[in-house]
């Protein structure tokens, strides 16, 4: 069995099993935490409005911090947008998703994907440097942050190398790219990467909880 056969076969299967197992475990665990007895009479509120309102209000920086977190805010959006475009609209990726999900969608030209992938990589490296050098960020960062950045950065770099056929044979680069994605999938459920799934529901839940108490979120 070659490295690529392992990476696109058993390696992928194990990574997906662990990913699904971990994500379901954490989601179910979190859902069960939700039921809580009301100690006072809930206020009159629209739970959907409160939930969606919190999702929206937390998508923009709080006014008081607007200036001080502008860099992080902008780079955060650029990074996520560039990542999503690179992951979801590169033709070989769509073929990969199609083999897993059974359906595909239109792709973008490779040149656009190359720009978004390089942007995502550069922004993530800049954010990593900032995290490691900024006193406050450094203080609040844990090993989880650094590992999470690392397991996302490596697929980006190996992906660009595989795309450019640079550094090693294509099949080797593709195998390393797949293995790095698998490492990310395995790390995902047990780390801060879970924010990709948890962020929106958590904001929604916070919004409804505030709504019940009559707090404007």
């Amino acid at each position: 069995m070659t490295l690529l056969e392992f990476a696109s076969g058993p390696g992928l299967q194990w990574a997906l099993w662990i990913f699904v197992f971990g994500v379901v475990w954490r989601l179910i665990g979190a859902l069960f935490l939700l039921s809580r007895k009301d100690l006072t009479k809930p206020r009159e509120y629209n739970s959907m409005k409160a939930g969606l309102g919190a999702i929206l209000s937390r998508s923009a920086p709080a006014h008081a911090f607007e200036k001080s977190i502008r860099f992080q805010h902008v780079t955060g959006y650029v990074w996520h947008f560039a990542l999503f475009v690179s992951v979801l609209f590169f033709a070989p990726h769509i073929l990969f998703f199609k083999s897993v999900l059974g359906f595909g969608w239109p792709h973008l030209p490779n040149t656009i994907i190359l720009v978004t992938a390089i942007t995502a990589t550069a922004v993530l490296i800049a954010l990593l440097i900032r995290r490691a050098t900024h006193p406050v960020q450094r203080f609040i960062s844990t090993v989880d942050d650094y590992i999470s950045i690392f397991v996302v950065l490596i697929p980006l770099i190996t992906g660009i190398l595989a795309f450019a056929h640079f550094g090693a044979r294509y099949e080797t680069l593709l195998a390393i790219h797949l293995l790095s994605v698998e490492a990310m999938l395995i790390w995902f459920p047990f780390s801060k990467l879970m924010h990709a799934i948890m962020t929106m529901p958590a904001r929604y839940q916070a919004g409804t909880a505030f709504g019940r108490r009559g707090v404007k979120a």
Binding site: Q13, F21, H165
Partner: protein, 353 residues
């Protein structure tokens, strides 16, 4: 052709001009990635070379490799060089059969001890010697016997080089490649199903010119021919970069000659000279004729998923296994949530007490 005739004499007798011969030498030198200064050496060596003795053993094969090498449409210099070798044993092409043919092989081996080239096509059944025999001799025994006094071995075709189709799962004959059995001789793997004719004559030309085997890649293939992958040399590559893909074999993209990646082309992971040398006197190659590369010069190409599955497709296993993982995760989630609640109740009870 007389046995003592040089290659140069033979080619002249066949009407090949000096100009045509030198053209071939230049092309061969550049194909083998030799500097221009080596052309004269190639020409000199080839012109004065005596006919090398070649013994060709055909084992578990389909004769496609022999067809590829002998059925050139026009008598090219390549095919004439192939004609010029002293093919002392080839049971598909020779008139003799049975013990007479075996006697010819033994005589050639004796006469050219340590100097003859052994060409093998087809894999060797290691599971049971009885699966493939010639004149009652098993492939395994014949290979061991003929290889021991050979100068070098050329494994022609993917079956001889890597096991090929006979080795494909479930490999009923226990097929193995030449290099799985012979470990003490130089082996040149000229893989492909079939290999490109000019690659085998290029290897022969190298052998005639320098008396050595050419530089090989990690899989024992001549690096000059197998050094680059099809995708990097494909004339359809710009369509790949632009994201223009044929979605089916008869859509607009296919008619416009767009990239065949989505239709399972294995060009990016296949190393061969098809995209540059092409086939049938440079007329075309599979991708040019509208079908993706199937990766036939790579080991285990039959078992690397479907020919029409894109390279980036993953084998993610069964849905049941994923559902099982989800169920296990759900069970653990419920269990840990219940345990957390129990701990909370206990703490509350302790607090109240």
């Amino acid at each position: 052709m007389r046995k003592d005739q040089t290659l140069g004499e033979f080619l002249r007798s066949q009407g090949v001009s000096r100009r045509g011969f030198l053209k071939y030498c230049s092309a061969t030198a550049s194909l083998m990635a030799l500097p221009p200064s080596a052309v004269a050496q190639v020409a000199e060596a080839l012109a004065t070379a005596r006919r090398p003795s070649v013994i060709w053993l055909s084992f578990q094969e389909c004769t496609g490799c022999t067809e590829s090498l002998t059925r050139s449409h026009a008598p090219t210099v390549e095919s004439l060089i192939f004609d010029a070798i002293s093919l002392d044993y080839h049971h598909t092409l020779q008139a003799a059969a049975g013990h007479g043919a075996e006697a010819a092989r033994e005589a050639a081996m004796e006469e050219n001890k340590g100097k003859y080239l052994l060409v093998v096509d087809g894999s060797i059944p290691a599971g049971n010697n009885g699966y493939s025999t010639i004149a009652g001799i098993s492939n395994y025994d014949m290979l061991i016997d003929t290889a021991k006094d050979a100068f070098a071995i050329v494994a022609v075709g993917t079956c001889a080089a890597f096991g090929g189709l006979p080795q494909a799962s479930p490999n009923p004959t226990g097929a193995v490649s030449v290099s799985d059995i012979i470990t003490d001789k130089p082996i040149i793997n000229v893989s492909g199903c079939p290999p490109i004719p000019v690659v085998i004559t290029g290897v022969l030309a190298h052998f005639l010119t320098f008396g050595t085997i050419p530089a090989l890649d990690a899989l024992g293939r001549p690096a000059a021919f197998f050094g680059q992958n099809i995708h990097d040399r494909c004339y359809r590559r710009p369509f790949y970069e632009r994201g223009e893909f044929a979605e089916t074999f008869d859509d607009e993209g296919a008619r416009k000659g767009w990239c065949l990646y989505k239709l399972g082309c294995k060009g990016p992971t296949t190393y061969n000279a098809c995209a540059t040398l092409k086939w049938n006197q440079g007329a075309s190659f599979p991708i040019q004729s509208g079908h993706g590369c199937i990766g036939c010069s790579e080991p285990s190409f039959w078992d690397k998923g479907g020919f029409y599955d894109p390279i980036s497709a993953g084998n993610w296993g069964s849905r049941d296994a994923l559902l099982g993982a989800a169920a296990a995760g759900a069970a653990l989630g419920v269990g840990s949530a219940l345990a957390a609640r129990a701990r909370k109740r206990k703490a509350q009870a302790q607090e109240e007490a």
